[in-house]
Symmetry: C2
DNA sequence: TAATGGAGAACCCACTGCGCC
DNA sequence: TGGCGCAGTGGGTTCTCCATT
């Protein structure tokens, strides 16, 4: 009753293991009669391929890897992440591709995992998230020759493909809108300072200062947690010349900021306008609803999976896909600044 | 420059492959001097174990499996799922255990995956979610002898372990509270009718009818989507003797129901009270905030992982862990029924 | 003599290349 | 030339057995 192997089938049919292998894989080298017989016996014996044995021979693993050097809580807290995962799965499951998920301590452990999984043929490719400014992972993955897609850009990731949205343009659209409303004191509660897209957003804001006549613009880096988002908001709202508008790099932080404003008695949007860089159900159901940059994160996950599948199919390929720039969805958290506070 | 194998190490050190294997696995059979020398050379050569080769020999895979016969969108839409995943990862990553995630069509495909992954030693155990009333998966997994933990209960899952919360008691606490407020017409927007916990909640409500003097109680099954949650709410609120309180089996549906009430001009909680069976950030930030059954889903995920790790370590073990019953957190969506509507 | 260190081969399972009829 | 057998490959584990001390 043990798992049958191709040797068992070969014995039963009275052919060699090689013939069985050819037959089961639909390859030429056996007569149709023999093939039919082999397939029938394999079915009778309830044979299943042994992925480890195939992997040892260098075959495809039928899985992609996602290794996260983030706290595991990220998965539960950030709607962005869950949606991304959902989009990835939707596309991958159509190809019966599994996903190997692992949370590690740091990028050194991440690279180590890439090394092990690649050489053991445990996965066929990787999805990389959170690219940083000088990211050691690109070089490591290139050296391994593993197919991979970076979520983020634009930028040079060596031979790796990428899928990205234009963070700069998105930030400019937010700042332009706030300036048009009359805001001059715009603050930014940013994400992890090492991340490329954080840098890009910070730079876009800074570059707008002269063009739009902004004053006292500031970008406070955080770790994306609601705690630091709240702390940054408290800092900003306690200042003498406090901002009349705050842009948050994630919906969770915007939500936290909204809470702090309430607790400090600062009216939204009367005294301070709030914009979130991520849209989700969260920003829709708050009161007031939060003006947000909206994009289809599930579709984004699907695109990442699609590109990864292409790169796995043809490792020489290098794709660089720019997705639609998130567009501003105005809700009730933004309004012209109160008279006299515009700086 | 290719991946070094234990044969390479054996050659360099001048010992046999067997000796190298023993040394690298910290097992007796080699002298301390030889062991040290082997470890040093292995390190110099940058050796890594090959998980596929080990799996072929029947070793531990270092991963657990989670196979979902649900639409992939579940992952992005239900905070419960993302939090569960987060809790699982937190515990698993502490043991450097990866998770193999796969979304499949139906439970037949799910079972097929269990079969393949088990016999190929691709995972060491499984997490089962969404147990149904006559669930074919238990039997299949038992036959495979694969360690597994069922999320849900109480109930008989054969030799499988389980982790569960008391859905009956939780539902009773909700209904008791609503009845105490004066509600008599209580409706229930349930989840998938085949799920065990759905049945248990439906039964708990039905069993309360006589005790609390309820009238016209009804449980409408849905697929957990916001669309069906909204549709069910529309149906309920359009009835002649419409309910004065509605209990939703998930936060997403409660949110959808709140939206429908707003669109139909039915005041919450003035004309209808709303309770969610799941708590998350969603229920906290709506306006009004939604009275919910609250539990620590991330901790739940951690408990599931913990039990699975125990069962993997000792396959003879069978654990049945009852977690804390979700407790009611009252927010602004519940109030006594308006006079004259109480049935 | 019994314990210890270690060589060597078999084994896990599928795939592939060579060679024979 | 098509069909197929045979032997070897991939990397690690484990069992048998021999040679030391």
């Amino acid at each position: 009753m043990a798992r049958p192997t191709i040797a068992d089938i070969a014995r039963r049919v009275g052919v060699s293991k090689g013939a069985v292998s050819f037959a089961l894989n639909g390859r030429p080298g056996v007569s149709e009669a023999t093939r039919a017989r082999i397939l029938q016996v394999a079915d009778e014996m309830n044979w299943r391929p042994h992925s480890a044995a195939r992997a040892l021979g260098g075959a495809r693993a039928g899985a992609v890897g996602l290794v996260l050097a983030r706290p595991a809580s990220t998965l539960g807290v950030e709607p962005f992440f869950a949606q991304l995962l959902s989009g990835l799965q939707a596309r991958l499951s159509a190809e019966s591709m599994a996903m190997n998920l692992l949370v590690v301590e740091d990028s050194a452990a991440e690279i180590e995992t890439y090394r092990e999984w690649t050489s053991a043929h445990r996965v066929d490719g990787f999805v990389l998230v959170d690219p940083t400014v000088r990211d050691p992972r690109f070089e490591a993955l290139e050296a391994l020759g593993a197919p991979a897609v970076v979520l983020g850009g634009p930028g040079r990731f060596g031979a790796l493909s990428s899928v990205w949205a234009d963070d700069r343009e998105a930030m400019l659209s937010v700042v332009d809108y706030l300036a048009a409303l009359g805001h001059r004191r715009v603050a930014h509660v940013a994400g992890l300072p090492g991340l490329r897209h954080t840098q890009r957003r910070i730079r876009a804001l800074r570059d707008s200062v002269r063009r739009l006549g902004l004053v006292d613009t500031v970008s406070l880096p955080t770790d994306f947690s609601d705690a630091e988002g709240a702390a940054a908001t408290r800092t900003l709202l306690s200042r003498p010349g406090r901002p009349t508008a705050i842009v948050y790099d994630s919906d969770v932080m915007a939500l936290a900021g909204l809470g702090v404003a309430g607790e400090m008695g600062v009216r939204v949007p009367g005294e301070v306008s709030i914009v979130s860089f991520d849209d989700s159900v969260l920003t829709r159901v708050t009161h007031p609803g939060i003006t947000s940059l909206s994009r289809d994160t599930i579709a984004l996950g699907g695109q990442v999976a699609e590109v990864l599948l292409q790169v796995i199919a043809d490792p020489a390929l290098r794709r660089d896909v720019k997705t639609a720039t998130p567009r501003l969805v105005v809700r009730e958290s933004t309004a012209p600044p109160a008279p006299g506070t515009a700086g």
